[in-house]
């Protein structure tokens, strides 16, 4: 083993991200943990996360020099709650904690963003509860419930343990408390030293400050206040709808949710004399009585034309938007090794985040006496390891200004995904990894793609066994190629 190398370990068997980077320079070792979570509701997820956390603490000797949290989705941070007693134990030491600027409570833009997210979360939490009110068969409700697995914690709450964080905000608070004063909120364009030995640096690519980039689906003009207004209105509309539809929800609001206010159910906008209950109209129509319009609407032959559930599509759209927006707040990092190799960890950054990487240079301005700032295409051209974003879904890896710029012959790709789990989600299953993207990655890396589900061990061992393979492969269970994790060791120099 060379005395100057880095090992990148991907924990397997989880639809979620948990990466451990072990940088060795001579006698010095630096341990970096990037995310630690699993999609909620996956079978045995909690036990798996606890095993993983125990393993990584053992490997690092309970010393985490740098903890990076890319964004607040459960599949990136649930482990900190599920194994909180292990990782927040007194004898575990944290060096620095890196978060995106969006997590800074003293940043006005971040606070506004969080307020917007909270409204939407509340609306979606209410919608998801409709599954218990006779709407579990509705496509939109099911889509919303599935997407909430990124947001909400679904383990049964442990009543005895008050310290256990029960939602993503509490996890972030616990991480901040553990890191103490050594918290860094990173801005795009920042350049940070990771380890002094040899000069191991990180470039902060995202999340962008630009709202249009942050929300790719909004037009790029118009003042910021309007951007917030629109989405807030959508969230309010969903909340109002669900409350009106099912007033009973308020009393049993989800304890895991933040700030569910105790306001009244929202009835019809019209005064009592103008009201006329739906059920009465239906009963009359079924008895061939009542208004002609009602008989036409309730005509069994035309049931497909009824609109009883169309209002729920708005919640569906909001859930997708929220997911996409939160992904775009991902802290996207490019680690530059002393020999100029780059390891790209974009979190779950989506199109807008990727596109923003070219908006600034690294560092943002020319420093006196320093070399010229670096541009993003330079960084991308030197990528030798790419952590594939958002479990290799179709739009979380940019083609033209992303993958196609990664020209280094040594490129390796790691996809933290379990296809089997992804396919069980939602109504039609989630398309992860996206076939075409995986194929493109296989082409570009000459087969050096490591997936979170160890289903293609033969292929990956063959690819890494080639004479020109840039890295060695290690498994927890080296003999069988299985186990909790897979690791690549990149020589430096």
């Amino acid at each position: 083993m060379s005395d100057h190398h880095i090992r990148v370990r991907m924990y397997r068997g989880i639809l979620g991200d948990c990466f451990l980077l072990i940088y060795s320079c001579g006698q010095e070792r630096t341990h970096i943990l990037i995310d630690c979570g699993v999609l909620q509701g996956s079978e045995g997820g909690k036990e798996r996360m606890r095993t993983i956390v125990a393993d990584l603490l053992q490997e690092t000797g309970k010393r985490l020099d740098l903890v990076v949290l890319t964004h607040e989705h459960a599949d990136h941070l649930s482990g900190f709650a599920q194994a909180h007693d292990l990782i927040f134990a007194k004898d575990v030491t944290f060096g620095a904690l890196w978060l995106a600027w969006t997590e800074n409570d003293l940043d006005a833009q971040a606070v506004a963003l969080q307020a917007r997210f909270n409204k939407a979360k509340k609306a979606l939490a209410l919608t998801a509860q409709l599954t218990e009110h006779g709407l579990d068969g509705d496509e939109s409700v099911r889509n919303v419930a599935a997407l909430r697995r990124f947001v909400a914690f679904m383990d049964e709450p442990e009543t005895t343990d008050v310290k256990r964080p029960s939602n993503s905000r509490e996890v972030i608070a616990a991480l901040k408390a553990k890191a103490g004063t050594n918290i860094h909120y990173l801005e795009p364009g920042d350049v940070r030293m990771v380890a002094k030995e040899g000069g191991f640096r990180a470039f902060v690519l995202g999340p962008p400050r630009n709202l249009a980039r942050l929300r790719k689906d909004l037009p790029s003009h118009g003042p910021a206040s309007e951007v917030y207004l629109t989405t807030m209105d959508e969230a309010l509309a969903v909340t109002s709808s669900v409350r009106a539809f099912c007033p009973a929800l308020d009393e049993r609001s989800d304890p895991n949710e933040i700030g569910v206010e105790e306001d009244a159910p929202d009835p019809s906008p019209f005064a009592k004399p103008r009201q006329s209950p739906f059920a009465a109209a239906r009963a009359a129509a079924n008895g061939k009585k009542g208004w002609a319009v009602a008989r036409s609407y309730f005509d069994p032959a035309r049931a497909a034309e009824q609109i009883d559930r169309d209002w729920l599509r708005a919640a569906d759209a909001l859930a997708l938007k929220m997911d996409s927006d939160t992904n775009n707040t991902s802290l996207a990092l490019a680690f530059e090794l002393p020999d100029r190799q780059v390891l790209l960890f974009p979190g779950d950054a989506q199109v807008g985040n990727w596109l923003s990487w070219g908006d600034q240079s690294y560092p943002r301005t020319q420093q006196e006496g320093e070399p010229s700032p670096i541009l993003v295409n330079d960084l991308l051209s030197r990528v030798t390891l790419y952590k594939v974003g958002h479990h290799a879904s179709h739009n979380a890896t940019l083609r033209h200004r992303g993958l196609e710029e990664m020209k280094d012959e040594r490129l390796i790709a790691m996809i933290p995904v379990v296809r089997e789990v992804a396919q069980k989600q939602g109504k039609d299953g989630w398309d992860m990894p996206y076939g075409k993207l995986e194929k493109a990655l296989l082409d570009r890396t000459k087969g050096r793609v490591l997936r979170g589900d160890d289903v293609e061990l033969y292929r990956e061992r063959k690819a890494f066994g080639a004479d020109d393979a840039p890295a060695r492969l290690r498994y927890q269970d080296q003999a069988n190629g299985g186990g909790l994790w897979v690791e690549v060791e990149l020589p430096i120099g």
């Binding site: 509309a237 103008r274 739906f278 609109i307 169309d310 759209a317 997911d323 996409s324």
Partner: protein, 688 residues
């Protein structure tokens, strides 16, 4: 004792908000916010029943979120007949029903007047089988609780939402107060136009390019904008209030109001506002705009620009008479008589322009439309009805498009005569394979031959003479087309329906190889029978959808099939121009489907599928076809507006567009099934 009959009323008058309820709370607009819509009295549009229901519309006021089914309004009640319907109010759902009904009917009537025929809604497959009568469009004034409204093709309905205004930034609305999209004149017109356009051009709802989706939105906005200017109440108020005649300010001010109720009209507003320092729009912006809403907004702005030009030229003389030598923008405090005259000119300009835009719809290709083609269609349709252009309307429109860099493809110049569609020409067919002597086929003759004898039937006959040989013989093929003008809604529907099947029959039967191939070339589709398939080398696109031929049973499966065509529309129209011009047209739209694939190699493989290999399911549907414009006065085929099914470039552009678009939304990752049931217009509005 029976009394002598009274004369019937001229119209049924219904009151609506001219803008929306919010305008009633502002001092400057409160006085002009009520307009009266006059609808035809009598039963031509069907008996009016509580709902309201007639032959076109069925207003159903169900509110599933609130668990309500509001009482339907009965517009025949004596109390309402005596006072032009319910007075505008937000608090009575029955007024909401009255308003959506009245404004939707007004929109329908605007289309019928310009097109010269009845409006029918989107045809569903089951409509052909079930004898359910003429399909109606359902309108739900309180279907959703969100800042949204949309047209649903599957449910053949307009769904309107209502929502609480934001507590923090509600503009001039009451914070937390209710806002109803069903009370906004412009939103109702916009959504009704979506439904009408979808009935007219069902393929325009398919995403084939960045223009195709944008066109639907833009056209709906254009109609809403121009219909607004046909309301004298609104326009006079604006002219009087502004005092001056800085008409650009006035018009754009209206458009600004247009955007208040929801955020979704923002694009329109900004398109009008965004001008360079020289007061001119940036022509490069159109070429750079990729987002459909942004492109649509540019089209709306181009039409709006034309409206300003037309209005200016129509009022120049008036202003010279009253205020000689004074600059337009400096005029203030106009005389009420002048305001009335200017209002008349403004509403007339808008009305003419609206008719031009609507008439153009019959001169457009059946699939994959782009904005340049819309310009050519406007110019050609207007030219056919009104050969000269003394007031320069067509020039005003061309100028509006030119200033924004919207150019048609393959045109010599932007002169009006260069923009006309090329007249239908005889088709040259190669007879003995490649290199053989081509034979010219005058396809226009087909319709002349078929339609002119119909006119001969009306010649003077000797009532005592021998009956003609043809008498009692059932006409076949094109001759069997029924072109007798129908005024009853139902009769017109049945006639259009039957004519569609007659054209289809004509296309399915061979007229001999040379003629068939001439029509294939003309229509840009393939409908040849198996007999020809062996001879024509480029007729091997296995991706084109096939008919199972019943005639040739017993042949191997692959041989029994031949390309299928669809007849989307057969519409007989009768138009009259402002000076009594009369034009009778038959519009025929023929299309064909082809399986499209997002991967070029897969496409090539599927196009030349080896014998025996099962075909793969398509990633998207690619269509080709043509619109035929036939002059019924003399049977000539005037234009063939074509999009070829085997157009390699168009297929590539369509594929590139779909590939590029999929990266913008996460929906594809979470809903793996391709044919998601999403409401296309709802999604466009929700921007998910």
């Amino acid at each position: 004792m029976s009394s002598a009959p009274y004369s019937a009323p001229a119209a049924r008058r219904l009151r609506v908000y001219a803008f929306d309820p919010q305008a009633s709370t502002a001092i400057e607009s409160a006085g002009v916010n009520v307009a009266t819509i006059a609808l035809p009295w009598g039963n031509l549009d069907g008996t009016l029943k509580p709902g309201p229901i007639n032959d076109y519309l069925e207003v159903i006021d169900v509110d599933p979120v609130s668990g309500q089914f509001y009482e339907p309004v009965d517009l025949n009640r004596i109390d309402l007949l005596a006072q032009d319907g319910i007075a505008p109010t937000e608090g009575d759902p029955r007024f909401h029903q009255q308003m959506v009904f009245a404004v939707a009917m007004k929109t329908i009537k605007a289309f019928e007047r310009a097109l010269g025929r009845r409006v029918f809604w989107h045809r569903k497959r089951e409509d052909d089988k079930l004898p359910r009568g003429v399909p109606k469009l359902r309108i739900y004034p309180h279907a959703l609780r969100e800042p949204n409204a949309y047209y649903s093709r599957d449910k053949r309905a307009l769904l309107f939402g209502y929502f609480r205004a934001s507590l923090t930034a509600s503009g001039s609305n009451l914070p937390g107060g209710w806002v109803f999209t069903a009370l906004s004149h412009d939103i109702i017109v916009h959504e009704t136009t979506h439904a009408i356009l979808d009935g007219l051009h069902p393929r325009y709802a398919e995403a084939t390019s960045r223009d195709s989706i944008a066109f639907h939105e833009a056209f709906a906005d254009i109609v809403a904008l121009l219909l607004h200017f046909t309301m004298p109440e609104a326009v006079a108020g604006e002219i009087a209030r502004k005092g001056g005649l800085d008409d650009h300010g006035m018009l754009s001010d209206l458009a600004r109001q247009f955007g208040e109720a929801t955020g979704r009209y923002k694009a329109l507003r900004s398109a009008i506002d965004e001008k360079g320092p020289d007061g001119q729009p940036d022509p490069a912006r159109f070429a750079a705009a990729t987002e459909p809403h942004e492109r649509g907004a540019i089209l709306v702005a181009a039409i709006f620009d034309a409206l300003v030009s037309i209005y200016n030229s129509r009022t120049a003389d008036l202003l010279r008479l009253v205020y000689p030598g004074k600059e337009r923008s400096k005029l203030r405090d106009l005389h009420p008589d002048l305001v009335a005259r200017l209002t008349k000119e403004a509403t007339r300009s808008a009305d003419q322009l609206l008719r031009m835009c609507i008439r153009a719809l019959d001169y457009m290709p059946p699939v994959d439309v782009n904005f340049g083609e819309f310009l050519r269609a406007i110019i050609t349709a207007d030219h056919d009805l009104i050969p000269d252009d003394p007031l320069g309307y067509r020039l005003a429109i061309i100028q509006g498009f030119r200033r924004r860099g919207i150019y048609p493809d393959h045109c010599l110049s932007l002169a009006p005569d260069s923009l006309l569609w090329e007249p239908a020409k005889p088709v040259a067919v190669e007879t003995n394979g490649p290199g053989g002597k081509p034979k010219k086929v005058n396809i226009s003759r087909e319709f002349e031959k078929a339609l002119i004898p119909q006119m001969k039937d009306h010649q003077l006959t000797d009532p005592l003479g021998e009956p003609s040989q043809d008498a009692g013989k059932k006409p076949q093929g094109l001759r069997s087309l029924d072109l007798f003008p129908q005024f009853q809604h139902h009769a017109a529907y049945v006639q259009a329906h039957n004519n569609r099947f007659k054209i289809l029959q004509w296309l399915r039967e061979s007229d001999g190889e040379i003629k068939d191939r001439a029509w294939e070339q003309a229509l840009g589709v393939f409908f040849s029978t198996q007999r020809m398939e062996t001879k024509v080398p480029n007729n091997k696109l296995h991706t084109i959808s096939r008919w199972e031929s019943r005639i040739e049973e017993g042949r191997p499966a692959s041989r029994r099939q031949y390309p299928a065509v669809q007849v989307d529309q057969v519409r007989a129209t009768r138009r009259s121009g402002p000076n009594g011009q009369d034009l009778r047209l038959l519009i025929v739209e023929v299309t064909q489907r082809r399986r499209g694939f997002l991967d070029q190699d897969v496409q090539a493989h599927q196009d030349n599928l080896p014998e025996g290999e099962p075909p793969r399911e398509a990633d998207f549907i690619f269509r080709g076809g043509a619109t035929l414009v036939i002059d019924l006065r003399n049977g000539t085929l005037r234009y063939v507006i074509r999009k070829r099914i085997d157009d390699v470039d168009r297929l590539r552009r369509n594929r590139d567009y779909l590939n590029g678009r999929s990266s913008e939304t996460l929906a594809l990752a979470y809903r793996a099934a391709r044919g998601t049931q999403d409401e296309i217009f709802a999604m466009a509005h929700r921007r998910a």
